[in-house]
Amino acid sequence: MKKVLCLALALCLLFAVLSGCKKTDNEESYFTVAIAQDLDDTLDPHLVVAAGTKEVMFNVFEGLLKPTPEGNLVPAVCSSYTVDGTKYTFTLRDGIKFHNGRPVTAEDVVYSITRCRDGGYVSAFSNISEVKGEGNTVTITLKEPMVEFAAYLTCAIIPRDYADQATAPIGTGPYKFVSRSAQENVILQAFDDYWGAKPKIRNIRLRIIENGDSLLMSLKSGAVDMASHLTSTQVKGLGDGFDIVQGNMNLVQALYLNNVRAPFDDIRVRQALSYAIDKHEIINHVFDGYGSPLGSSMYPAFSKYFLPELTDYYKTDVQKARDLLKEAGYENLSFRITVPSNYQPHMDTATVIVEQLKRAGINASIEPVEWETWVSRVYSGRDFETTVVGFDASTMTARALLERFGSANGKNFIGYKSEKYDELLKKALAEYDDAKQTEYFKAMERDLTENAANVYIQDLADLVAVRKGVSGVRFYPIYVLDLSGLEYEGK
């Protein structure tokens, strides 16, 4: 009997060793970046909605303009442009090509802009009355002046005569798309004819690793060279061999309150929660101090709009919280916090909130849900009491963050209703003068804070680990992963 056992074990070991010996070396060398979300959406840049997909495809597509890490917009597909009231004139960049080698023409630009307008993919484009292309010039005429129109021109320019964008996309960006294998990897390659600075790293493989522990192991084992959105605990466990670069996630994490449902329709209750929850303790305790505290629906990367004085508008004061609740008649308040369970930072934040609320005599419980359930029930169905999530800006405008709290906005899932806010929003959107518009947006932020629309917590830190010897990680005010600046040091 023992012999059989020994034989079996020996066989297994032999098998393990033998199969381990053979390694193929004919693979090209890849720089491997781990991403937590698969690019499981259409890859057509106009139709894509998944944040994780947009984040990566930033390297493949460009608009007439593109954002810079500093938050400015610079010409990309065009080489220069002029604005004359409602008329925007773009000169196409000389010699710019798509990934399939075909030069970009004015017709492609007209096609891309028109497609987004007619398909409703970029809502601001409904303001366009005419797009015209002539030679290497494109003119866009607006129905009404719009201060932040340029921000929407980051919309991707794609070839008009290409049908496979959804699965094999073609753009003008620094990297071209090579292949996608579901749940496995996405391969990108530097585009030789790129108009700008050519990427230093030629082959990039994005590996999909959803699981945080597996990701950490993959970094340590050498399978992965770079990963973003790490937690402070993960970073601590990483050891040497990696540089940690810190940026911001650029999202507004808050305990979002259902403003139309009792007791959260009472401003005193909302303020009591704001006094009871200590955002600094959350950041220090769970995130080891990484993260920027927030006081309204705006994060520091939009420095023009950010109001630091709102951060501590409600200074933590448990007694005040109790008094406010007593006054409002909710002394034994208890409610549920619905949290998308696959987002560990939100789960951890909620865990601390529950504990902090206990100190103020409030009994909160966590309801973990899947992300899709969250979208359909909490966000679309508005069936919730409170929830911890983060919202980012889809374009580089304050409007992207603030518009959703207008009482008539379809995305106003917390049901926020403030006449003053609606008034300010209307004025801001109609304003042509940038400085004045900025003031309106700031006033809106104040309105959200004063009414304690939500309990604002923080802009999460974005901790990126890069293998030592590689530099060039760049952070943007929007949610993108720019790979084109990476380079091996000393080469």
């Binding site: 009997m1 059989v4 056992l5 079996a8 074990l9 066989l11 297994c12 098998f15 393990a16 033998l18 199969s19 381990g20 053979k22 193929t24 693979e27 491997t32 698969d38 499981d40 959406d41 259409t42 909605v49 998944a50 944040a51 409703g120 699965t167 294998s181 579901a182 749940q183 496995e184 590996r207 999909i208 690793i209 959803e210 699981n211 522990d213 597996s214 990701l215 192991m217 993959s218 970094l219 340590k220 084992s221 050498g222 399978a223 992965v224 696959n342 899947e370 992300w371 899709e372 359930t373 979208v375 359909s376 029930r377 966000y379 679309s380 169905g381 919202f391 889809s394 379809g410 995305k411």
Partner: protein
């Protein structure tokens, strides 16, 4: 022949049940492919348009019948998320999971059967005590935890494989199998322990039965009794148990594939359920159903071959 037809019928019925249940499940859980796809930037109009495009506004039975019709004409549908035919997506994943499952099953059988037989013959209390303690220990560790430990030892310390760098099965089959081996071990360990335990207790149970005592009292040697009588009666439950194990390995692979970042069916199933990508989920569920029926059929055949008396029970 009649048996084969019967089994085909069995498979069809099982498949009908699971596929219909899956459709119902998707009707019950919140979210549909449209909300899953559009996320937080969607307007109600966009959602409605997408639902129309995806055909989600049709009643559930209609959608189910369409799916069934498609299935029998060889069309598994198109993934809502990847815009790619389901068959094309699943092919590579199926190979990976099949290799992983068979490898763990192989490990279970090859290790558990001899150890179990050996254990059944052991009488020494001390050896039994220690063996049983070790067995308990192995049973008690969740596969995901074993996975982490294996990675620590074999990847981070001994560098025998690179965790997170699963080679493609096409270009580097030995490498891929080698990688899968560690995951297979993580799945197999608790199940080996369970099988050994199952065998030991079944054999013990048989040993105490009257007929065995009679044989003993007639002076037959212990090993002969073991081989001849006990085994024959102990085999059917063990075969059933192994068949059940074969069926359950797939479920265990869901978690282990996550831990080892292996692009297999289990991991794909989880992400497709969250993405409400039900053409993919349906296809995977049908594959698992086939697998389960196959395991059951094998168990039946083996048991019939060993103990034809069971046939009577089946025919009543």
């Amino acid at each position: 022949m009649r048996y084969a037809l019967g089994k085909l019928g069995t498979f069809l019925v099982t498949m009908f049940l699971v596929s219909a249940l899956t459709f119902v499940a998707f009707a019950v859980i919140p979210g549909d492919p449209a909300t899953a796809k559009l996320g937080t930037e969607a307007t109600p109009e966009q959602l409605e348009a997408l639902r129309q495009e995806m055909g989600l506004n049709e009643p559930l039975p209609v959608r189910y019948l369409k799916w069934v019709a498609g299935f029998f004409s060889g069309d598994l549908g198109t993934s809502y998320k990847y815009n790619t035919p389901v068959g094309e997506l699943l092919g590579p994943k199926l190979r990976v999971t099949l290799a992983l499952s068979l490898m763990s099953f192989f490990l279970i059988v090859v290790i558990a059967l001899p150890v179990g037989l050996f254990a059944a013959g052991v009488e020494n209390k001390t050896v039994l005590g220690i063996g049983s303690a070790v067995n308990q220990l192995l049973m008690a560790v969740p596969p995901f935890f074993t996975g982490i430990i294996l990675t620590w030892v074999f990847s981070l310390t001994l560098h025998l494989f690179i965790h997170g760098d699963f080679p493609s099965m096409d270009s580097n089959l030995p490498g891929a199998l080698h990688y899968l081996f560690y995951a297979a071990v993580a799945i197999a360990i608790p199940r080996i322990a369970m099988t050994v335990r199952m065998m030991k207790s079944t054999a013990d149970g048989e040993e105490k039965k009257d007929y065995v005592r009679t044989v003993y009292s007639k002076g037959a040697a212990k090993s002969l009794v073991m081989a001849g009588h006990i085994l024959k009666n102990a085999v059917p439950p063990i075969v059933s148990f192994l068949a059940q194990t074969l069926a359950e390995i797939i479920a265990a692979s869901i978690v282990v594939e996550q831990v080892f970042a292996i692009p297999g069916l289990g991991r794909f199933l989880v992400s497709s359920i969250s993405g409400r990508d039900y053409p993919v989920v349906e296809a995977i569920v049908v594959i698992i159903a086939f697998w389960v029926v196959l395991a059951g059929t094998l168990a039946d055949l083996i048991n019939l071959a060993i103990d034809p008396r069971l046939r009577k029970g089946d025919k009543r």
